[in-house]
């Protein structure tokens, strides 16, 4: 660990993946992707299945040999042609991959056993790792006696006990039920802070990505679409795909009228609406764009009206379907540019005799249409 810290002082990235392409036969899983990670960062690779996120993780681990690669380095060491067992990183697999013929303790110690550590030292480290994942006292259990959540923790303990430079997590919470998943998110984040190891986390869940990450890389069809801190992806999607993936309920398609001082004016049907421009580069006037506004930003009013005043977008509307969700109410409202969803948290703000809806211009984003129309 002391060596790691010494290396870290020059501020070099702990992971560098340069110009990596991977094909499975005709299918391009990764298309000339480059990624770097800072020391101690919690980096999330987010995307749908088939986006190439798991392939990228496996290439970092050394379990997949990329078709074309510029360079891969971990903690300053060039590992481009190093096999998986010689790389200073470990993986927590989605399917756990615990050895069924070993006890919990033997599973956790396996990496240390390969590194030639003595039995006593191994046991000590394993017990400490078990404490860390809150499985104290389960050293002698057989793997088949454990629940799904416990197996997941053993896999985690097995991966961190060797103190790797990078911990790779491949959808580790995918097989757990909702409640456990939420608990584990908090624990993983906590563990990351305590260990100070770089985490690279693969998931298809935008909610997991937002909760835990320092930085998110959103991938689609083997390419990186957007990367940045969670707030960037959440509030400033670079295109319609990102907005949709990050769960923006209202995506209104229109044409760009003008952009000035970061604000974009969009014509949608007979209406003009304004939002913060969040596309990568500013599109030409008249090009198709997308206005993205979250349902919780949309508010209701019983006074009519139209247009923009005081930094507000306002549309006349009439009431549609209401769905009761317990904590909040989802209302679908009919406007003459289509349906808009509003999420009402406060009962008192819900109106029966509504005439218009509105949202603040700086609480919505105007962005490019998705590449390739997807």
């Amino acid at each position: 660990m002391t060596e790691t810290k010494a290396k870290g002082s020059d501020g070099a990235p702990i992971l560098e993946v340069v110009d990596t392409t991977h094909r499975f036969g005709e299918v391009v899983a990764l298309d000339n992707v480059s990624v770097t990670a800072r020391r101690g960062e919690f980096l999330t690779l987010l995307g749908e299945s088939g986006s190439g996120k798991t392939t990228l993780l496996r290439i970092v681990a050394g379990l997949e040999r990329p078709t074309l690669v510029g360079r891969i380095s971990i903690d300053g060491d060039d590992v481009t042609h190093t096999p998986a067992n010689k790389r200073n990183c470990t993986t927590v697999f989605q399917h756990y991959a615990l050895f069924p013929h070993m006890s919990v303790g033997q599973n956790i110690e396996y990496g240390l056993r390969l590194r030639g550590e003595s039995k006593g030292a191994r046991r000590k480290s394993a017990e400490r790792a078990l404490d860390m994942v809150r499985l104290t006292g389960l050293y002698d259990r057989r793997v088949h006696q454990l629940s799904g959540g416990q197996r997941q923790r053993v896999a985690l303990a097995r991966a961190i006990v060797t103190e790797p430079a990078i911990l790779l997590l491949d959808e580790p919470l995918g097989a757990l039920d909702e409640k456990l998943r939420v608990d584990m998110q908090v624990e993983l984040k906590d563990l990351h802070e305590r260990l100070g190891i770089t985490f690279i986390y693969v998931t298809h869940s935008q909610e997991e990505a937002l909760t835990m990450s320092d930085r998110i890389i959103l991938m689609q069809r083997g390419e990186i679409i957007q990367e940045g801190p969670p707030t960037d992806l959440f509030d400033r999607p670079v295109n319609q795909f990102v907005a949709d993936f990050m769960g923006v309920e209202n995506l209104l398609e229109g044409t760009l009228e003008a952009v000035s001082e970061g604000l974009a004016r969009v014509r949608i049907g007979e209406h003009f609406l304004t939002g913060i421009w969040s596309g990568a580069e500013v599109s030409a006037e008249g090009s198709p764009v997308c206005l993205a506004v979250r349902a919780e930003r949309v508010r209701l009013s019983n006074t009519g009206g139209d247009g923009q005043d005081d930094g507000i977008n306002r549309l006349p509307c009439s009431s549609g379907v209401t769905i009761y969700k317990g904590k909040y109410v989802d209302r679908t409202l009919d406007t003459d540019i289509g349906q808009i969803k509003a999420r009402i948290w406060d009962r008192d703000a819900d109106l029966v005799d509504l005439a218009s809806l509105w949202w603040r211009q700086d609480e919505c984003a105007v962005t490019q249409m998705a590449a390739g129309g997807g």
């Binding site: 681990a61 050394g62 379990l63 096999p83 998986a84 067992n85 010689k86 470990t90 993986t91 697999f93 399917h95 991959a97 615990l98 050895f99 069924p100 013929h101 396996y110 990496g111 390969l114 590194r115 057989r142 097995r158 991966a159 060797t162």
Partner: protein, 297 residues
Amino acid sequence: MAHSDFTANKADRPFLVSRPPLLRRFSESWSSSASAGIGYLVLGIIYFPILWLMILSISGEPLTGFPGEWTLRWYENMFFGSGQREGEAYGGDFNILDPLLLSILLAVITSVACMLASLAVGSVLPRISLRGPFLMTFLMPLMVPGIVAGMSIFLFFRIGLHFKMGLWSLVLAHFIWAFPFALLAMMVVASRFDQRLLEAASDLGASKLERFWQVEIPILKPGIFAAGFFGFLLSFNELPFSIFMRAGEITLPLYLWIQSGAHNTSIPLIFALSTLITIASIFLTFIAIRVGFSEKK
């Protein structure tokens, strides 16, 4: 008794509610006792002759077909050989020691060969794309009658290549015979082996050799053991191949076959010998199951 009685007026005649019609009760009990009967009959056909043979092996006059006059004489004669004692109807020149040792030697060699070969094939087959056709090809010899396979191997080596038959050809024949069974036993375990465990081992720092010894072999162990067990048992009991490939060597089953076909006086010893072989086989199977398939606690 009509079905409608079931629903009509339960309160008045409650006993009708719980009882199905007489005819159906009868046919159900008849069909279940019939199938039970057939089951017992089959068990009887399988086990009775074996039990009968065991009983006769400790009888004084086994060739009469009736037990009685209990004695261990045949066992004694079998091992300590004999010579015909005065006043005895049977006995004669009977020496099972050489055939027994040869058969055990053959069985051990075949067993080890089956373990190694089925481990090699079984650990690779699940990883390749053409595993189905390959497995079928490996298992095809199961469908060739032993006598045909034995003869064709004999003709190929003896007449075709002018090799001299001997111990090696017996080993080869027994391996050819036993390997498909051994592989089948191995595949039961190997096909369930999670290849991703090997990735996990590499990821934790294991070389190919380390993950083979520390992950693959321990998990495939029951399959390896089963393969060895089948190799041993099938070789030990093999007859048709041995007839062709023996070149003067005599295995235990061959010896039994020759003796039981001959009109001499040592036939009663066969009862004793068969009993011993049966008990030994059962014992071996029991041990194999205990050692190989028991879940470690």
